[in-house]
Amino acid sequence: MNTNKLLDLLRQNARLSNAELGVMLGETEKSVADEISHLEREGIIMGYSAIIDEEKADENGVTAIIELKITPIKDRGFDDLAHTIMGYEEVDSVFLLSGAYDLSVTISGTSLRNVALFVSERLAVLDGVLSTTTHFILRRYKEKNHVFNEDNFDERSMVSP
């Protein structure tokens, strides 16, 4: 089984059936199912979710990326604070980054005000948070290799050899 190919296919479209995946990879449906369970058990496949154009799904919804500078704690680094933050259900993702700031936190909310309040009341006040900068996403162009707002135009001519 070519695991990389299987993962690639799932990255592109996680809704392909095991039978379809099997045909494409030249494997049986059962061995695809076994491999996927194995990848799930190993925590390599963490879950399955749709790529949604949030602007279309909810016009008023907002998403923000918040940069946090924090003070690392001896022996535990940034983990404690990261764990606290990822515990908030408003938070979609938390990454520790190299460079000018430490944590990148993604938050979705129903309004700009809600998100701003969340940052000022829940994040900025945490012990160890030195500063926050909030960036609201204005437009999505591409996510997980899917291009947004582009009509599916095939520039190839209908007439071809």
Partner: protein
């Protein structure tokens, strides 16, 4: 003006491509999803595009040598030596052409005169016989059959050879069937041709796209065939460079020398920017080609299984990017099938009859599309068949 009188009869009699005829129908139906396009859905590898930009920036926009940029001819020769184990002299035995199509045109025009016969295995791509007809020659189809995996057999070939036969077109990997000639098939064909004065125009434009571990073999590799073979290929399919219009022909100097004159008067030299980009494509983009072929292979399996599951028997193609399912079980002609499918389910596939009479009873389906596109189209065809059964 009396245009009828103006245009020679043999030109007026040339039929427009059957593929084109069907598209005129398909194009009138709104919202059609197509499985009919014969070109890659990938973009040209970035390295080749970047080189073209670079060349434009430098302003290298003059004509090249008639037979093409020396650097590209050398690259092509190096590539052929490695790929089909056959050596050519970049000075005298290669022409860079405007697509594989021009190379086919040159080959037929250089060799055929009135009364000559051109053997064309069918079903196959549509350009060979009109060119033969323009030269006053006749294309003689050799029917290939599903039970022979659409390969050209020595027996079928022998049967069609006459004293007038001058050229055999060998279009493998084949459009539209996806058939591939294995080494042993080529050996058998070569055995028939040795000792004759027949030239082979080996149209290998899909050579890089083979599957199931099958590697392309050129008839030029077979013993004593190099001297009677024109290897015709190009960059369109393997490197997804259709719009760059670049191909090549390699063969024995006495024929290439004559072809070069035709090329020189008709084309001058192939597009310069495309030629520079093609050097980079051939030298640096083999990983991109491999990736594309891998993708095609996954889709190929999906589509073949899809058709077999819905009861349209589908020969397993080993090359190109087409499948050629048999639709005889529906009781329709391939043209009827395709028209109804377009009108009723808005899916366009090409009638097999567009590729010669022997394509009747089949349809050509291209899988140069995304998996999502293919699965949608397949499920519409499945619905179509189910509704036919109920009716």
């Amino acid at each position: 003006m009396d245009y009828e009188k103006l245009i020679p009869q043999k030109i007026r009699e040339i039929q427009p491509s059957g593929i084109r005829k069907f598209f005129d129908i398909a194009q009138q139906v709104e919202g059609v999803i197509s499985l009919s396009i014969g070109e890659p859905d990938f973009k040209t590898p970035w390295a080749a595009r970047k080189e073209a930009i670079n060349i434009l920036e430098k302003g290298k926009t003059a004509y090249t040598a008639n037979s093409g940029l020396m650097e590209l001819r050398k690259t092509v020769c190096k590539y052929l030596k490695n790929f089909i184990h056959t050596e050519y002299d970049p000075e005298k035995e290669v022409i860079i052409t405007v697509g594989g199509s021009e190379a086919i045109d040159l080959a037929v025009r250089a060799i055929i005169e009135p009364g000559d016969e051109v053997l064309v295995p069918e079903p196959s791509f549509v350009c060979y016989s009109p060119i033969a007809a323009m030269m006053g020659g006749t294309a003689v189809p050799i029917v290939t059959k599903a039970e022979n995996k659409f390969r050209l057999t020595a027996a079928a070939l022998k049967e069609k050879i006459t004293p007038r036969t001058k050229l055999l077109v060998l279009p493998y990997p084949n459009n539209p069937t996806g058939a591939v000639m294995r080494r042993e098939d080529l050996e058998a064909v070569a055995e028939v041709l040795r000792g004759t004065n027949i030239v082979v125009a080996s149209d290998e434009i899909y050579a890089e796209m083979t599957y199931n571990g099958v590697k392309h073999v050129s008839i030029a590799e077979i013993e004593s065939m190099r001297e009677r073979t024109l290897v015709i290929s190009g960059f369109s399919k393997a490197y997804a460079m259709t719009g760059w219009r670049l191909g090549y022909v390699a063969g024995p100097q006495p024929i290439i020398k004559q072809m070069l004159k035709l090329h020189q008067y008709c084309i001058m030299s192939s597009p310069t920017v495309s030629q520079y980009a093609a050097v980079v494509a051939m030298e640096k983009c083999s990983a991109d080609v491999e990736h594309m072929v891998d993708e095609y292979d996954m889709r190929r399996r999906l589509v073949v299984k899809g058709f077999n599951d819905m009861g349209l028997e589908c020969f397993e193609p080993e090359g190109a990017f087409y499948v050629f399912p048999c639709i005889k079980s529906t009781g329709m002609t391939s043209a009827e099938f395709c028209e109804r499918l377009v009108y009723e389910k808005k899916v366009a596939v090409v009638p097999g009859s567009a590729f010669g009479e022997s394509g009747e009873g089949f349809v050509r389906v291209s899988y140069a599309y995304s998996v999502a596109h293919l699965t949608t189209a397949l499920s519409r065809i499945r619905e179509f068949l189910e509704e036919l059964k109920k009716a």
